[in-house]
Symmetry: C3
Subunit: 472 residues, 3 copies
């Protein structure tokens, strides 16, 4: 007999009975609130075209770097999971069996928790995933995915998503967003899917294909993107285009949080070097730094909220990158400075009441030391939620414990699921809600907060702050 799959009603609440009772009551008051997903990586084509998702492996394993990185770390070949150039030859059922046989590896991880929710709540599984149940899982999930109730829009509606943001490059034509908006307007499907402006491919000189991207940027915008003014105008134009497709934010995934504030003349000269391709590593870094400040200036004009996601050493595994490409679970966090790095931008625009910058980090040592003090002072700064490797029960607890006393709750912005794993979105928001309610319950139990205040905060952390911060 395989073990039972159970989602306990009290999961993730503090173990102490009196605290748990408070957490349970807080959670009951917000658990059914709609999902607002202001930052993530779902594919807008899903919602525009509403095609079925494919088989279990194709939807749940192959695109999920949390899953395959753990399997890879234990010596399992990516090719056997259908990842990489040899995809054509793999067997999705066999790949799924590998996952099932190794499901114990995920004990204690958020992947386990999100997946169990998907298995139980989305697909109605009642036994745990294991070697014995592998085929039943594969068949049940694959079968259901073929039915209308499991198409993207049906799930979107079932998940009670009020709005979801995707993330696109300036080179994207946003055709899927346009199609969805047209359908919204014409009284068809009412799901709200907005974009966000992620200019890394034309801002980061080290991005694959950067120079060709610039040419494409020129083509799309009609600007000469080999000149500094043309390039900046192209950004302004595309930002406006993105805003018309629902974008309320931009997003910047730089290696560091470095900003710069060069004179217009120096910036133009630097840009020439970048365009010429003769730049050093330091010049590439300086250009990215300058562009954060340029983006802040544009945000002041057009009102788009800036998100900065720094500190990931992308594609750390060189051999893997060459064979399998980007996003294969080999991005590793680095120590990240914000105090010195952000100063040029803050010196320029830090006191602007109209500017809003949401900071993220993969370096938890900066929560209490740098980020909370910065956000607890500068009017333009807010703190994004625990991110990526730290988007987990312990990670979220550390975030609240380390930031609240200096930045308070009201300099934070609610939860981001930040995922392409669409089916797990409700599970991710649920984890955040449970952890936040547990944290608030702890404060109530220690008499640091009145119960009615905790209830108000639970609502603010779930829906209030995210709407305000992202101008949604």
């Amino acid at each position: 007999m395989p073990p039972k799959l159970e989602l306990h009603a009290d999961r993730l609440f503090p173990a102490d009975g009196s605290v748990r009772a408070i957490a349970r009551a807080l959670y009951a008051s917000i658990k059914d609130a709609p999902i607002i997903s202001p930052h993530g990586h779902t594919d807008p084509a899903w919602f525009a075209q509403n095609a079925p998702f494919g088989d279990a492996t194709d939807l749940l394993l192959r695109p999920d770097h949390y899953m395959f990185r753990m399997l890879y770390s234990q010596g399992i070949a990516l090719e056997d999971l259908g990842i990489g150039p040899a995809k054509a030859t793999y067997d999705p059922r066999k790949a799924w069996r590998i996952l099932a046989q190794n499901w114990h590896l995920f004990r204690g991880t958020p992947t386990r928790m999100w997946s169990d929710w998907v298995f139980a709540e989305v697909f109605g599984m009642t036994d745990m995933l294991c070697a014995e149940t592998a085929d039943a899982y594969f068949d049940t999930i694959t079968d259901k995915l073929g039915t209308d109730a499991f198409r993207p829009r049906a799930l979107f509606d079932r998940f009670n998503i009020a709005v979801i943001a995707t993330t696109e490059s300036p080179l994207d034509d946003l055709a899927h967003h346009a199609a969805i908006m047209a359908e919204n307007a014409s009284g068809g499907w009412q799901g709200r899917v907005v974009t966000a402006y992620r200019p890394d491919p034309v801002v980061d000189p080290d991005f694959e294909g950067f120079r060709a991207n610039l040419d494409r940027f020129s083509q799309i915008t009609g600007q000469d993107c080999t000149t500094w003014q043309g390039y900046l105008d192209a950004h302004r134009q595309r930002r406006a285009f993105f805003a018309r497709h629902g974008a309320t934010s931009t997003d910047h995934g730089h290696p560091t949080a470095q900003t710069a504030n060069l004179s217009a003349r120096d910036a133009a000269a630097l840009f020439d070097t970048i365009v010429a391709g003769t730049f050093t590593a330091a010049e590439a870094e300086l250009f990215r730094a300058q562009m954060l400040t340029e983006m802040a200036a544009m945000s002041l004009d057009d009102g788009l909220v800036m998100q900065i996601h720094p500190g990931s050493f992308r594609n750390h595994n060189e051999a893997l990158f060459h064979t399998f490409g980007r996003d294969k679970g080999a991005d590793i966090p680095m120590r990240t400075d914000y105090v010195h790095a952000l100063k040029p931008l803050l010196d320029a625009y830090g006191n602007e009441p109209g500017l809003s910058i949401i900071l993220f980090t993969l370096d938890e040592s900066v929560y209490a030391r740098e980020l909370a003090p910065l956000a607890g002072h500068y009017p333009c700064l807010k703190l994004g939620p625990a991110w990526w490797f730290h988007d987990s029960p312990e990670g979220m607890r550390r975030f609240r414990q380390a930031t609240t006393e200096t930045a308070g709750f009201y300099n934070t912005v609610g939860f981001n699921d930040d995922t392409r794993a669409f089916l797990s979105i409700p599970a991710r928001h649920d984890v955040a809600r449970r952890i936040d309610c547990g944290f608030l319950a702890q404060l109530v139990a220690e008499h640091r907060l009145a119960d009615w205040e905790a209830a108000e905060l639970a609502r603010d952390l779930t829906n209030g702050l995210v709407k305000k911060a992202y101008r949604l």
Copy 2:
């Protein structure tokens, strides 16, 4: 009806019933111990002159950077709070209302906890601060502050303060301390108010007015403070003067913990460069570093305990600094190294049994990694309590959790309130006592400590260690 203001008897104790019972008993045994405040920033004029404190805003809001930095971070203008050049035009009642309307911002922060104590215990308020109660708060507090029972000395006595240290520049004439000591001696008010020697204005070449300060230093001491020997002698002289005014400690607020041990010749040459004003940033840093070692040498002679408070990026917000000046909530912690930085000083004097150096940090990542190992070895080193942004319930817990296993309790020095917010001093000590008792209770509950040991430690952490460490 406004919500009630309640200070629960069990606040800040661990939620678990059995641990809480232990914490409660420990706390009962030390809660009424006198306050020993070995480091802080109250104004000695208050105690020398005993004038009334003014209105609610003037005492509780305008000087409190914890309060106004949070309000500023949410877009409230400092001018509206009576801060900055436009002070004359502001309305204290309106400023107070702004605070009241935004009181929710402080949920989960120590400011909220300290203030609630002041409101309830000092002023007898029974409703929570909110828009509805703003005027009643302002009037009640302002009225009471006009009565004799709320003058500085009356509160000092009511707060059961055994001794308080203020912090002065070498350029200060200590007239207020002299007046208090004279009154002490003549059988008048018996409050003990001592000074501490904080030479940053004449040690840090980057301090505003540094060069003019040196001239004033010469004037006061009769030494030629443009020569290395005259300058060192001036320090010796002022340290002795401070010691005669009760000082048992010095305090050093450098950007980093860097120390240096130059030859006398090199130090003198460096000093010439500093005096000439032709120094580089590296030379300024080296001079500060050298001066820590010089101060340690003087401490060996005169017995003053050294405190080092490194790691704050002062006045990070340039525009704000230019308009509003220092100490406006824009000091941001930085990553701080101690292992390499302190080595020159420790190589010189680290094994001296007569030397005592108390280390503080704004970088919690060094607690377990650097500070506890250093203090758990070097006879001259002790660990100051959780400081500034970390002087909070969670911050204090992290401090004990991270330092105790390597440095033990007896290489720590009790609590510092480190504040200019006089009325909150009992609240701050109370928070520290509650958190320490909770931490000890946890150790007892986990059978890591006997109950009688925890009781002894509670007394040591409250009064024993601070007296010994600060030679009070």
Copy 3:
């Protein structure tokens, strides 16, 4: 009446009653499992010769840097504890009394916990160590140590040690291991004592006597260790020799985790500079870095598991080092980077399924930020347990909390006692077992793990993972 010495059955379990019950049950299922000690510093001569251990001070105080560093930090002279050049003149009973009088310093430290176990379980003491019981302790312990039941082999058997690894230099002749193996083979004592290859004395150019060590290395191996090829061949030869004496691992105690992958030509040239003794600090660092990669290459060939223990600033107290030598409690952790440092080695061999590298750290800020993400991706990397200053209840909890969500449990390797304090080995393993069971119980109580999974994990964390990771 001295206070009683009690080892509570529930010590170190979470305080909450329901969590504690789960922890207690998990612990009951693994507490009697044999001890597997894959990395440590016991002396193989003890087990080869089986001579009595000497007096209480000689066994328990003088060699224990955790103990004497704490005493030293409080102003007690090392000479009075029988440490240093003046050893001949000290009185072991007086030294023991000093320890007893200062036993309160260890409150809240692991030393207290390990020692109490040794006192109670090994020696049957029933009163706590204090001034009053000092002599009784000294006499009882010293007397018992003179009896056969307290000789090394008797204690080894009594402690239920399945296998213990010691750590030797390539210059060691492993005579004690050979003697033990011969006795094992001939049907005598069956204790399994293996060695580990720790080449720092011939790999680290800054090691005391490095150049002379190279000559000795040549002598022992018959290779010309002043040539790069001869030097590498000497390593290969000694590694094989160590493997024949039971070694399954190597160990590398570098100041940093830096690795390098020079061309053979550049490596040979660097080696010439090292041998010539004309190297800079940077060249010494580069050589150590290169040697980690060379060792990884050899591990691929001979299957020895690599352990990297970086980040200790050895002999930080210069004066103490000159008078008393190495390992006197003055090693201080430093901030340590892994993401950039390990890349050259990982680029060369990171995806080799046959390679196994166990990473340790003294810098806890890297647990969640660098180590868990690296080990959660690279097939060759595993995480060693909380090390040295962090081998403590709070330290172990932080390790699990910070690493599990990203690396899972199965990229960790069980516990290392890493000690020369032989009598405390069972206590150290017991602390680890209790903390792990408490951590698992917390996950079960929060419904993040099923109870049967926690039971399986408790077994894996105790014996399963260590056997697999160390190939024992």
